[in-house]
Structure formats: C-alpha cells, structure tokens
C-alpha cells in the first residue's frame, strides 16, 4: 500500500490566465504545495491542508481549492475518515493526532435552543437609550450579608467579601499557551482583553516577559507539568487557574513537541531547549478531591489570599458531582470545558469521542450546586465551542457566570480552522514558533480584530438582553425560562430544565 493510493484531500488549481507569476503562493505556503517550474507555478495538491493562506495572499484571485475532488467509493459505515485513520495507523502503528475541536457532525444543542424577546406585556429595553449592565464578578460570594443597624441609624456591613475578579463583560479568552501558539498571538489577545476590561489565560506555558505589561488582565495557569510556575509567575497573574483537564482531550495531559521549544519558549516554560514538554495525565499531587483542595489552599496561601483561584475540568459524565466537590474547596470558580473545546493537538479518538456537550454540563452543574445550596460558593465559567454571541447568551441563561472563547479569537486573527495546528507550521503565524511565520501576525493590527470581535458580541448580547427586557446580566444568568428547546428530546429538555417551543 503506497501513500499515493489514498485520494487527495484537496485539489489546488491556478488559473493561468489570471496568474502573474508573483510567487506569493510559493512564499506563503509552508507546506510546500507550490514551486516554480519555468513559466508556470507547479502545484503539488497532496501537500495542501486548505489553510487558505495562498488564496488570501494571491493578488489576482487565481487560486481555487476544491475539497475531496476524488472521493472514496461511498459507504455509510466505512467513511472516508474511518478508512484514512486505518491507512494512517496501518502505516505508522501510532495514535492518530488531530487539531482544533470535535469534528464529528453531532448536533449542536445551542442551535436547538431559542431565545426569548418581549412583546406588548413587557417593554423591551433599548440599549442605545438605557443603561445595560454586563459587568460580572467571578469568585466566592457570601450566602448572606451580616448587616447591623447602629443606634444612630447607620448601617454597618459585617461581612467581608473575598476578592472577586471584575469583568466588564462576561467573555474571556481561554488558556492557549506560549508554545502552542506564538508570542505574537498571545500579545494580540492580551492587548485586546486589557483594552476591553476582561481577561485571558496564559495556558501552561508561563508568562513571557513581554506580556507582563498586560499581567493585570492575565490568568496564570498551573497544570500537571507545572511548566513556567514559580512565585513570581503566580503573583503576576490577576487570578490563578489549576488545569485538571480540557474538553478536547479529557483524561490526558498536553504534549508540546520539542521542535517548538526554542530558546524563548524554553525560558518561559523553564524547561530545556528542544525537550518535549509532556504534562502528565493527572497532577501527581492530586489523586482525590481533598488533594485538589490542598493545592487550591497552597496557591491561596502562596499569594496571601489576594487572588481568586479557578479549577478547570473537562465536561465529563460526572461533571456536576466533581464541580460540587470543587465548590467545597477554597476555589472561586470552576471552569467547565465542553467536548467541542479546541486544542493544538489531541489524539483524534479523544477529541471526537470523550466528554459531553458544554450545554448539558452547565445545566447539570448549576442544578447540582443549587440543589445543594452552594451555587454562591463558586462561579461557573463555560468554554468549548462558543461560536457567537448567541452561544454566549444561551450559556449564561443556562447558568454560566462567564465564558471563555478560544478558537473564535484565533479565527479573528486569521485562523481558517484547517486543523493542522499540531504540525507547527501555521501559515497565519498563530500555532507556530517559526520566526518567519510568526512575524506574519502583527499584534498592532490583530489585537484590534480580537477586540472588535468581543466588542461586537458585547453589543449583540446587550441587544438580546434588552429585547428580553433585562438590563443586568445577573437577571440573565440561570434564567432558563427565557430559553425554549426546539427539536430536542424530552430527556434532554429535562436535563437542561427548559420547556419546548410553544410551551
């Protein structure tokens, strides 16, 4: 079985009547799809990953990329993907890697939830004319306030609130490490969140010195490899996040290949150059919930109880019970990462088959915490496949306090979701450490794109809230009465605690 026996994924064509032989396609393609041969550009379509860098850079619109021009003989069970994975593994004997999030065509629950709006009996509120509040505080809240009225009528507050993270908008950018993505990508996103008054995660890659100017808007991560962690790192972050798992690959650790570990990444992660950075599947000091509690406690002590500590888990079947365990520790927020969450590289079998949708996870966690009367003990941050402001609004209505985006922010900077992140050759300068490629991403330009995206979503959320007659995000949170299920089965609607359309 030779490799040539597998049909190509993409067919690239150059229209010779439009091509002016400028060779921009050759310069821009890191995968070696193009080469000059005399007076023509020769195309090796087999190298193409459909990242569209050449299409974007071609000044004459001469390039066409066709998907699956030669398909396999169709079969309902032995799909193209199934067969290719077998060829791949028959050849290599290894785990098949994949990038980005879950790529199976399972239906999205978000798409089957519809939002409400006011008509007649209550007026909608116009955000152009009335205040609309999206400010969100993440962290522990007291169950009740102790208030004493003094003899002179003055009111004395006897409850001290623990430090909360103040977000101008309930949208943050999730943890994508330096190493997995480029410094320029991190700089762009960091500048965006600091302009917007929200936060982004460092990932398990340490905090590069050039990001310190944005540290007040950065959440530092402590993951199972402990890469980049020291007291200086912890103290610089606005909050600390312990990563237990991630939605793209629940139950396993991360893996940064040595070729991405250049001098800068090496120093920031505090690991030798060119060494593989392999995070263990579990934290080696956490083998039960009380061990997690101790780690939360240690981080709180190390930072003198001044910083909120989050715990990130993948949305797995038992997510609600796990979250309730986390709520009983000193942790301030639980981050739930749904099965559509992205990654630079994950075993395909995990990415596509392990974990549950974020919608069900939010509903289950919020419900369990309320049933136990401890919802105030912890904030819920949801992530994993948030594509637009409607997804965000629905996630909050299901019970999330705030959300993380990941892939959406990358797309704002040019990512075309080709899913080839794990090769380290990202032509958009995002998922790569190659200086020639990373310089393609200009933080002075891309930060604005990221900020524009989040700002646009914020405006849309304000409009959706106003239409629903709500002028404060607190009144959207957990307001499942303003959602209806469309073509969802009864069991699913019970889990989500939403009524069907028309009810």
């Amino acid at each position: 079985m030779s490799i040539g026996s597998i049909p190509i994924k993409f067919k690239v064509r150059i229209d010779p009547s439009r091509c002016m032989l400028c060779e921009r396609c050759i310069e821009n393609c890191p995968y070696g799809t193009y080469r000059r041969e005399g007076e023509t550009i020769f195309v090796d379509s087999r190298n193409c990953v459909a990242c569209h860098r050449c299409v974007a850079m071609c000044p004459r619109d001469a390039i066409t990329i066709e998907e699956k021009p030669v398909d396999y003989r169709s079969h309902p069970v032995w799909t193209r993907g199934a067969r290719e994975a077998i060829y791949n593994q028959a050849r290599t004997g290894r785990i098949v890697l994949a990038g980005m999030g879950n790529a199976t065509d399972l239906p999205s629950i978000f798409d089957r939830l519809l939002l409400d709006a006011c008509q007649v009996t209550n007026p909608s509120i116009d955000p152009l004319r009335e205040p609309m509040e999206l400010r969100t505080y993440l962290g522990k809240k007291p169950r009740k306030l102790e208030i004493k009225r003094e003899k002179d009528g003055d009111i004395e507050l006897n409850t001290t609130l623990s430090p909360n993270l103040k977000l101008n908008i309930p949208i943050m950018i999730g943890h994508m490490s330096y190493g997995a993505i480029s410094l320029n990508a991190q700089l762009s996103m960091a500048r965006a969140v600091s302009n917007l008054g929200t936060y982004m995660g460092t990932g398990e890659g340490g905090l590069h010195p050039s990001l310190r100017q944005y540290q007040d808007n950065m959440i530092v991560q402590v993951a199972s490899g402990r890469f980049g962690v020291d007291i200086d790192y912890l103290e610089r972050g606005a909050a600390i996040e312990i990563k237990i798992g991630q939605g793209a690959k629940p139950g396993i650790g991360g893996h940064l290949p040595g070729e991405k570990v250049g001098p800068e990444v090496s120093q920031t992660r505090m690991i030798p150059e060119r060494s593989d950075a392999i995070s263990p599947a579990p934290h080696h000091d956490i083998y039960s919930i009380e061990d997690l509690k101790q780690l939360v406690h240690s981080l709180k002590e190390a930072t003198e109880w001044r910083k909120p500590v989050f715990v990130k888990i993948a949305a797995v079947h038992n997510v609600a019970a796990i979250a309730s365990g986390i709520a009983r520790s000193s942790a301030d927020a639980v981050v739930i990462d749904g099965f559509r969450g992205g990654t630079g590289a994950a075993p395909r079998v995990f990415r596509d088959h392990v974990g549950i949708p974020i919608e069900a996870a939010i509903a289950a966690v919020d419900q369990k915490l309320r049933a136990q009367g401890i919802r105030n003990e912890i904030s819920i941050i949801a992530s994993g496949g948030m594509r637009d402001s409607a997804d965000v609004t629905k996630a909050i209505a299901l019970g999330a306090d705030a959300i993380y985006i990941g892939t959406a922010a990358l797309i704002a900077m040019g990512c075309r979701v080709c899913g080839t992140c794990y090769r380290g050759l990202c032509p958009w300068g995002i998922a790569t450490q190659d200086a020639k490629l990373t310089q393609r991403l200009d933080p002075d330009i891309e930060w604005q794109h990221v900020a524009n995206l989040i700002h646009g979503w914020t405006l849309e959320i304000s409009e959706l809230m106003g239409a629903a007659g709500i002028n404060s995000i607190e009144s959207l949170r957990g307001n499942r009465d303003r959602l209806r299920g469309y073509m969802l089965d009864e069991e699913m609607m019970n889990v989500l605690d939403v009524k069907p359309v028309g009810a």
Binding site: T121, L145, I155, R370, E474, S475, R477
Partner: protein
C-alpha cells in the same frame, strides 16, 4: 397593566375596606374583571396569636380532610370556618374560601431559630404542592387576604370587606396575562407576614425562581409575583436585611452610580449586588410589599411602571394613580413621584 393601591395608618388606627374598594374600582381601566384582591393587617384581633390560614378548597371532602390532617399533625387548630361571603351575580364561585386559626407545635421543629414561621412556611409549600384541590393563599398572624376572579367591587362585596378593619390595606386590580383569571392567580400574594401586590412582569423570574427554590421555597402559583413574597421572606426575615436594603437588592443602583459613591456606600452596595445578584428583579414592575410593621413601595430600576405616593396625616398612600389615592382621601398633605428603584417606606409608630 394592573392597578395597585395601598395605605398604612402609622398610628395603627383601623380603616374599613369601603374606601379602598372605591379607589380600586376607579382603576378598572387597568383591569379586566378577571381578578381582584385585598390584604388587610389587623383584621383578626381576637386571634392575633394564631396564624390565619386562608385556603381555597375545590371541595370540602378529600382536600379538606388532607389539610385538616396535616395541620393537626403539626399543631393545633384553634378555630375554623368558611370565610363569610355574599353571592354576587357576576362572580362565579369556583372555590370555597376557608380559614383556620392555627398554632404550630414548635417542639416539632427543633434546631430552628424561628420554628413557628418555618413550620407554617413548610406547611404552605407542602399543601400547595402535594394536596390537589387546596391552596393556602394567606398565612400570617392577624392578616387576611381576600381575593377572587372578578371586578374589584364585586370581590369586595363578595367578601364584605367593609366589615373588616385594618391599619394596612393592599389592593390589586388584575389584567391577567401569565395565567388565566383563576382565584389563586389574583393578588395580593402572601406568605406569613409578607403580602405583595405587583403591577408588571418580572423578566428575571427564571433566575429569581432558581435562586429562591435553592432555599427550599416552591413556586406553585404559576405567576411571577409569588416569588417576590418569598424573596422578601428570605432577605427580610431570614437574612435580616432592613427594608431599604432589601429593596436595594431587588432594584439596585447601576454600577456607574455605585462606582461614584463614597467608599463605605460603594462597599455596601457592591456587596449587596454580588451577594444578592440572583434576587435582582428585572422587567417592568411597581410593587408594594407589606408586613405587620409597615409597607414598602418600589419600582424597577428604570421605572417602567407608574408609582405615586402621598401623605395625609398619619396615613401614607402608594398607588398606580393619584386619582385613586384622592378617591380615598381628597385632602392630601403631600403627593410625590418616587424615583426608579427608590423605596417609599411607611412604618407603624412603635
């Protein structure tokens, strides 16, 4: 729409229900003839130590048997009777209004600091959720709610509210949207000491309901107003917030205002919003809440429903319309429009 009016006499002098009936029926443009009701404080002086449980029975066989049983299990029934009514041509009698004067046995709820209230609250929730054909709609001491489906004057005449004397009256003229004009859906809503009348719609109901239900309350009346009564009970009674701070939690200042406050105020208001964010009520509303100690009127944060207040001597009036207040008392000392979210508080003199 809906029209509301309430009055308190701070010296606790009694007022019979005849005037408030006229005031409420003046606002018939705000109603649809499908629901009206009155709450009066101080109406059962002879039974002031007992919880007056007003119950709608569908019949006096199974549901009443079950209610009798559960009440006897948890305490003692001092006296019970059908609430006296007079048939009205345009009021269809779909329930039998009954009243019990009940004393809970506090030894049955050890470990509670407020066993009487907790038993009564528990019984109200239990009867309303588990006993078919019985609905407790009033459960305070020395308090009576009188409501039904009909125009204000019809309901008033049905219950003969001019025969009752109270120092606080709350009244409501309903234009139903959320639920059909069933008797249980008419206002005022009451739990223990708390009574609520409400004009508007609470768009945050889902959030408020999820919040209050995590404290053991059960919303059973299919309407957003009941949640206000439970929130008052939680914040006012169980958490001990003074009225003005309770209202602050329900209709808090905007963050822009809080940010501009002096440090102590800023801390207090931030703490209220952080702690009680899920109790924040959104949507258009004007609400009057009463307890035995007084009344509080307030609107939503951008005042999407009308509310006007007036004073005459010892009496404070809060209503949807000034005309209705003047129907009760033509000579007013002061009339004013409260700002959005700003509470109007009338307390009895101690």
């Amino acid at each position: 729409m809906c029209g509301i009016i309430s009055v308190i006499d701070r010296s606790k002098s009694g007022m019979d229900g005849s005037r408030i009936k006229h005031a409420l029926s003046l606002m018939n443009e705000r109603g649809s003839g499908e629901g009206a009701g009155y709450a009066a404080y101080g109406v059962y002086p002879d039974f002031s130590e007992y919880y007056a449980l007003h119950v709608f029975f569908n019949n006096l066989v199974e549901p009443k048997g079950s209610v009798d049983e559960i009440l006897r299990t948890w305490g003692e029934i001092e006296f019970e009777e059908e609430i006296p009514t007079v048939e009205q041509p345009d009021l269809r009698r779909t329930h039998i209004p009954w009243r019990y004067f009940f004393k809970p046995d506090i030894s049955l709820m050890p470990g509670s600091t407020t066993p009487e209230e907790d038993i009564v609250t528990m019984l109200v929730m239990k009867i309303n959720t588990t006993i078919q054909g019985a609905l407790v709609f009033s459960s305070g001491k020395n308090i009576g709610v009188f409501k039904a489906s009909g125009w204000p004057e019809t309901v008033a005449d049905f219950y003969q509210i001019d025969q009752y004397e109270g120092y606080i009256w709350l009244a409501h003229n309903r234009y139903p949207t959320n639920t059909s004009g069933w008797w249980g859906g008419a206002h005022p809503f009451n739990l223990l000491d708390w009574s609520v009348v409400h004009n508007g719609e609470i768009t945050s109901y889902g959030t408020n309901r999820r919040y209050i239900e995590s404290y053991g309350y059960r919303c059973t009346m299919f309407t957003d107003t009941e949640v206000v009564a439970y929130l008052c009970d939680l914040l006012g009674r169980k958490h001990g917030l003074p009225e003005e701070l309770m209202v602050r939690a329900f209709a808090p200042p905007f963050w822009d205002e809080i940010d501009r406050m002096k440090e102590a105020d800023c801390t207090l208001n931030s703490a209220i919003r952080l702690t009680y964010g899920s109790a924040l009520m959104n949507g258009p509303f004007a609400i009057v809440v009463a307890t035995a100690d007084g009344i509080v009127g307030f609107t939503d944060r951008i005042k999407l429903r009308p509310l006007i207040a007036a004073e005459a001597g010892d009496r404070l009036y809060i209503s949807s319309e000034e005309a209705a207040i003047r129907r009760m008392e033509p000579n007013l000392d002061r009339v004013w429009m409260p700002k959005a979210g700003e509470p109007v508080i009338g307390r009895v003199r101690v």
